[in-house]
Symmetry: C2
Subunit: 230 residues, 2 copies
DNA sequence: TAAGTTGTAATTGTCGACAATTATCGCTTG
DNA sequence: CAAGCGATAATTGTCGACAATTACAACTTA
């Protein structure tokens, strides 16, 4: 099973390995959102020195999974509703632009590959059942292709290197398995069509609407949850 | 003279100070673009240990001013034309969205403040002379206000914490003092009007055109330079 | 001569200890 | 009894040394 992060090169140093372990632990909530990180304790737990742990913490901070204050320490980022919505706003802007650039810059081969990926998704049992797979891995795969297709290193860094982890974290912790699977698949198809036609303007609009729809879906859910829990 | 980076809190640790010094040195080209960074050498030069220097390097990496490879070392990022244009594409997307959000989220007080800042720019001697100030500090001030006005922490982090430094680096190293000062000022004024009218859609469009105009201006310059130098 | 190899030198990664700062708990005092 | 203060404990920041990896150079060999 290949790594699902296209920007992540094979880890060599132990700090890299610790970073990956902690990343998963934070994303999946094993290290709770908002909790303080004790350097001595974690170092002992992982059987490494504090220097190595701090190196790993620096990388976690780079993808905004933890926050550090001088002489105070590190905390896992807190998952808030506003934080989630803020991320979707950024995604709408950046992935919309990435989609426009993809329409301009993707090679014909890349487009063919993406089409075949989508075709495979269409026949996937999971999609037909309308359940988890497509919301999770399949959805991410599609968005990755578009982002990488932009051929804009800055876009790729920000989206795949930073926001990606946060998105996954929120998905895990807020338990988001929306009923948008089939709708999302249709939207993906339209987007690919626009890219294939090299229509950057339309591609951007469609991607923005696609992400905005997700955001609104979340907003509705939150509102519903609030009113029912009170 | 206050710090011009709104996200930058007062530095306390020595690693912070080294970070700031190196940041300036890189941005202004004293540490050349693309050059390799020797940890032992720099540590000796700054009279600090390698650990502290590495802490500073980690922060430089966070704002994409240097790149690190495991077991190989750090290099200052290379200034390329494509890199510059990539940044402008990201800015167009993100600052456009920031502007839309600013129109929705800025307080009335913030808007008043921004208007008065612009009024002050209008009477500034530098602007009337059509020279450097407005392209540099004044322009940055305006864009900062808009970004902060979005009240979106993720947007603020990415734009002020990361892209900002790169933008300044390119401005220094490519020596960009374009003749767009008065035009830019007019565009800024229109943007503020749209924000004041709470017209998010228009605000975004205007900001995107404003940044796209800068990008095209650069593209023209580059093309000109290429054809003249060959 | 050019390519491959091996051994040495230099650089990076990791470690444990010390210094500086912060948090905590108990005490004093109004 | 509450609020402020002070000493102690714990945590973070910094340091220098060692281990592991990489880069370089001289040498061998086809």
């Amino acid at each position: 099973m290949a790594s699902n992060n296209p920007t992540q090169q094979e880890a060599i140093t132990t700090a890299d390995k610790i970073f990956q372990k902690m990343q998963i632990a934070i994303v999946e909530g094993d290290i709770p959102s908002g909790s303080k990180i004790s350097e001595p304790e974690l170092a002992k737990q992982f059987q490494i020195s504090r220097s190595t742990l701090r190196e790993a913490l620096n990388r976690l901070e780079k993808c905004h999974l933890i926050e550090r204050k001088a002489n105070v320490g590190s905390r896992v980022i807190e998952c808030t509703v506003k934080g989630l919505l803020d991320i979707y706003v950024v995604r709408e802007a950046l992935e919309g632009m990435a989609c426009r650039q993809a329409a301009l810059n993707m090679t014909d081969e890349e487009i063919v590959d993406m089409k075949s990926m989508l075709a495979q998704h269409a026949t996937s049992k999971d999609l037909q059942d309308g359940v988890s797979y497509y919301q999770e891995q399949g959805d991410l795969d599609f968005h990755y292709r578009v982002i990488l297709g932009s051929h804009n290193q800055e876009l790729i860094n920000i989206l795949c290197g930073q926001l990606y982890h946060l998105v996954r974290m929120y998905r895990c912790q807020f338990g988001m398995n929306s009923p948008r699977a089939s709708k999302a698949f249709t939207e993906h198809s339209r987007i690919v069509e626009a890219i294939a036609e090299r229509d950057g303007e339309l591609a951007e609009i469609l991607m923005r609407r696609h992400i905005a729809a997700s955001r609104k879906n979340i907003e509705n859910k939150i509102a519903l949850k609030d009113s029912s829990s009170v």
